[in-house]
């Protein structure tokens, strides 16, 4: 095992999870440098200087920072390396980040709640400053001068008023002999002296990403390894009745079939054969007690649990009583879950992208019946996390399959497996009572959340009068888990939408209304700034609208303005997003920008198009084709301002999500007068058309049935027939053409039947041109 661990570590390093910051020289990833690093790895155990578990200085004058939180796209490797490099006065182009394995000596390694920077800010600064002091002490001793007469810059110690200098690498031999200054005794820099922090820095891993060298969870390779997939019961709460693997085992290259508690695992020489083997399994399932379960039933149950909400205060003159609905969501990371495990001589080694390598370690130990000290959990790049990788189910399965088969195993989910076996963002119904008094000031906000999977309530950041929150939940056996910004995703959507409803009820401007109700100065500042940057109140063209919303959390403040247009046909376009964020101290403004844009696109995609639904006890979605994500041509322009208001940084990975959804819905209201109280937005036509209005003097449109499940019949009757057929085009809510069909003239009307089998459940617009006039009618495909 020792040998294996060592070998694989070297493979890992050679295979480039080791990357170098490339700021000064632009492209340091020369062959020469790589060769140097390879040599370095072989010798470092002897030659490296390690004042703490966080940092190592090498003979070749590299600074190696150990990152004990997982990189999932939030930029933590760059950020942590920057913090150490700053206090160490390191040459940023010679800073390397490596991942810590799961081990309690690193403290809490759970990458969630946007806590990484806030948890490690002081620790990592001290680690850098401590190493710097030690190197200064070494130089002072060599030169026979006082440490006070030395200073540091770009990985060198210099003699003040002198010509002598030594690189950090050159100082190692001396430093190793000296006592390590206690971490809490070293002086930290003043923020005003920062050279690396607070300035835009490049992603330390960019070059390995764009050359394909970065080793992701599914990329780990070892001689002799096999590949495994699993067949799981498709019924929520169902189980395996029986299976026949004889055909699967006949496939050349299928190594074995194993039953584990999660399902039936097929192990093969490569991924393709594993999938082929799985296809050849013959299985019968016990559907269990949820065989009839549907999303409709779940929401009906939620509504039945609302009960009576308390009354609003007596001075309420106008009120809103309504419910908001938020669906289940899958994380749908770009890289479906996968993990490498090798159980061998009573020990197990893991290589995987995980948001929690410590629990991966303990869960694997429990599953295999070995002690934690016999499990090594190494962290690789994750092709997205968003909360999904807090659950290590895929790592545990890899470990179990390795133990049963005796092989090193790369276990992977297909995209469909991944979506159908996620830990979903909980679905919820929010029952609301909110009111204003005669002056238009809020009197009360009563909010009850009913969910499957826990959803805590969040109290509003505005003075809404008497606030009463309550929760209820009901279990249907659907697994739920954390999702980017967790309970804020639902709560801020609801609160910021209701605040908008109240402003409208009071006849007040939504921005001014918020400013008058916010007491926190920082919240007011981001709201005011975003209004100024955008030019709030300026005239917009017909069909356009703007919405505002704000969020306070993770130590940060953010306000968003979303600008949309809704065309005559009903097509929604997100034109612009303005954001002002106050992260306290912005460590890496470039990364903050990325996070704000990424979180916004995450929020837009989910708000507009995505939901996980259940029919006949099974999850219905299976991939990006029916769990749609925005594409480049659908995303807005961004204008982002980052404020600096303190010496301490906030969290950033989740901050940019919550207020985008309500700002978008508020913008749609502003544009159309249609209030979105049910997500995804795609369920609501943005055209004010109902059945009666489909009839004009010259034209009658009818879709039957509507809503429909897969097939719909379109009928158009007109007095003014021009030709024997008419072209109708069908667009999705973002105006993307999804269908084009000729309607046949049958004497009195045009008619056709369309099949929407492959399209996601959503509103679609049937658009055609008649007599130089454009007609658009919404139709709704149900789940």
């Amino acid at each position: 095992m020792e040998k294996h661990c060592k070998e694989s570590r070297r493979r890992f390093i050679f295979g480039t999870a080791l990357t170098v910051a490339g700021v000064v020289s632009g492209f340091p990833f020369s062959n020469k440098l790589l060769a140097e690093l390879v040599v370095l790895d072989d010798k470092k155990k002897v030659l490296g200087l390690t004042p703490s578990i966080w940092v190592e200085i090498t003979k070749e004058n590299y600074v190696v920072v150990t990152v004990a939180r997982s990189e999932i796209g939030q930029g933590v490797r760059t950020t942590f390396a920057m913090i150490v490099a700053e206090e160490l006065d390191a040459d940023w182009s010679r800073v390397i980040a490596i991942n810590a394995e799961g081990d309690s000596k690193y403290g809490d390694q759970s990458t969630g709640g946007s806590t990484s920077v806030r948890t490690f800010w002081t620790t990592l600064r001290q680690a850098g400053a401590q190493a710097r002091q030690l190197l200064i002490n070494a130089a002072a001793e060599i030169w026979g001068i006082s440490p006070d007469n030395c200073y540091t810059q770009n990985s060198y110690v210099y003699e003040k008023n002198g010509v002598r200098k030594l690189s950090y690498g050159e100082l190692i031999d001396k430093a190793i002999q000296l006592p390590i200054p206690p971490a809490n005794s070293v002086k930290l820099k003043k923020v005003s002296d920062f050279k690396i922090l607070g300035k835009p820095q490049k992603n330390i891993d960019e070059t390995s990403f764009v050359t394909g060298k970065a080793v992701f969870s599914s990329d780990y390779r070892l001689e002799g390894m096999k590949y495994a997939v699993i067949l799981r019961c498709p019924y929520i709460g169902g189980s395996l009745a029986s299976f026949d693997d004889s055909e699967a085992k006949k496939i050349k290259g299928v190594v074995g079939v194993y039953q584990i508690s999660e399902g039936i695992a097929v192990v093969a020489e490569n991924s393709w054969l594993a999938l082929k083997g799985r296809d050849a399994l013959k299985v019968t399932w016990n559907k269990g007690t949820n065989a009839e379960l549907s999303t409709e039933q779940i929401f009906n149950k939620f509504y039945s649990l609302i009960g009576n909400l308390p009354d609003l205060p007596g001075n309420t003159t106008k009120k809103i009583e309504c419910t908001y609905e938020v669906p289940f969501l899958a994380h749908s990371t770009m890289e479906p879950m996968s993990a490498f495990a090798y159980f061998h001589n009573g020990k197990c080694e893991i290589w995987a992208g995980t948001q929690n390598p410590q629990t991966a370690r303990s869960q694997v130990a429990t599953a295999l019946g070995i002690t934690q000290s016999n499990v090594k959990a190494n962290v690789l790049f994750s092709g997205g996390g968003f909360g999904r990788r807090h659950n290590n189910d895929y790592i545990v399965m890899a470990a179990k399959i390795s133990k049963l088969s005796g092989f090193p195993i790369m276990f992977f989910y297909t995209k469909a497996d991944d979506i159908k076996n996620d830990y979903y963002r909980p679905a919820s119904v929010h029952s609301i009572k909110a009111g204003i008094d005669a002056n238009g000031n809020p009197t009360g906000f009563i909010h009850k959340v009913i969910s499957q999977g826990d959803v805590s309530f969040v109290s509003p950041s505005y003075n809404l009068g008497v606030v009463q929150n309550s929760t209820a939940s009901y279990g249907f056996g659907i697994r739920t888990g954390p999702w980017r910004s967790v309970d804020y995703t639902q709560n801020i959507f609801v609160i910021e939408s209701v605040v908008d409803e109240l402003a409208y009820l009071a006849g007040k401007d939504p921005l001014q209304f918020r400013l008058s109700l916010a007491s926190d100065e920082k919240l007011k500042t981001v709201l005011r700034r975003v209004g100024e940057n955008y030019g709030w109140g300026r005239e917009l063209p017909e069909g356009w609208g703007r919405g505002i919303a704000a969020f306070v959390g993770y130590g940060a403040y953010i306000a968003h303005i979303v600008e949309v247009s809704v065309s005559k046909e009903g097509f929604l376009k997100i034109q612009k997003i303005y954001a002002v964020v106050d992260p306290g101290f912005p460590i890496n403004p470039e990364n903050i920008k990325n996070q704000i844009m990424g979180a916004a696109i995450d929020a837009l995609s989910t708000a507009i198009n995505t939901e996980i639904t259940i029919q006949n006890g099974q999850i219905q979605q299976s991939g990006f084709h029916n769990y749609r994500w925005l594409r480049m041509n659908e995303v807005p322009e961004f204008n982002i301002e980052i404020l600096t208001t303190s010496d301490r940084p906030s969290g950033m990975g989740e901050v940019g999500f919550p207020s985008v959804t309500p700002a978008l819905c508020n913008a749609i209201f502003n544009a159309t007068g249609i209030r979105i109280r049910k997500l995804p937005i795609g369920k609501t036509p943005l055209l004010k058309v109902d059945g009666k209005e489909n009839k004009t003097k010259d034209l009658e449109f009818n879709a039957y049935p509507n809503p429909f499940e897969t097939k719909v019949t379109l009928n158009i009757r007109t007095n003014d027939i021009k030709s024997s057929n008419l072209i109708v085009r069908i667009f999705d809510i973002l105006g993307k053409l999804v269908f084009e069909s000729k309607l046949n003239f049958n004497g009195t009307s045009y008619q056709t039947q369309l099949d929407f089998e492959d399209l996601p459940a959503s509103v679609y617009y049937v658009v055609f041109e008649l007599n130089n006039q454009i007609f658009s009618f919404p139709i709704l495909k149900k789940n």
């Binding site: 992603n203 960019e206 990371t333 770009m334 479906p336 997205g384 990006f624 084709h625 041509n633």
Partner: protein, 148 residues
């Protein structure tokens, strides 16, 4: 079966219907080409076949016999292609997983249109999904790489 990837010839003993994606990743250990959906939707697995982008998850290995396959490993291992430099300059990536596919597509785009407009970029690049939402930066990076 003989195939040629990044100018290197390989002799493989595989069934001709095995998708190119798994040949690259599992047999040749060229893991820069990623798996995302396996059904041609996400485009994360994009490679060039005779210079044209294809979804390697859909292409049977038999189809590439006698053709030139270029993967991300064949662009520039040092990252000094103008596109890679621009990506680095702007720190485009978040999780990074979709980026090899994005680079391959952008490489094809600029081979066809050396100075693409925003519309050209949107049209070509909208084939790809980036779950992290790096689209605006990708567009900016392609413009930067083709500015000169």
């Amino acid at each position: 079966m003989k195939i040629k990837v990044n100018k290197v010839e390989y002799n493989l003993d595989v069934e001709s219907d095995m998708p190119l994606l798994w040949v690259l990743r599992d047999l040749l250990k060229l893991t820069g080409t990623k798996y995302g959906c396996g059904i041609g939707v996400c485009k994360v697995c994009t490679v060039l076949i005779d210079g044209v982008p294809e979804q390697s998850c859909l292409v049977p290995i038999g189809f590439v016999e006698g053709k030139e396959v270029t993967t991300i490993e064949g662009i520039s291992q040092n990252g000094d292609h103008p596109l890679q430099k621009a990506w680095n300059e702007l720190s485009v990536s978040q999780c990074g997983y979709c980026q090899p596919g994005q680079i391959i597509r952008a490489y094809y785009l600029i081979s066809k249109i050396p100075k693409p407009t925003i519309e050209d970029i949107n049209r070509e690049m909208s084939e790809h999904i980036c779950r992290c939402g790096t689209y605006n930066k990708i567009r900016e990076a392609i413009l930067l790489a083709t500015k000169e």
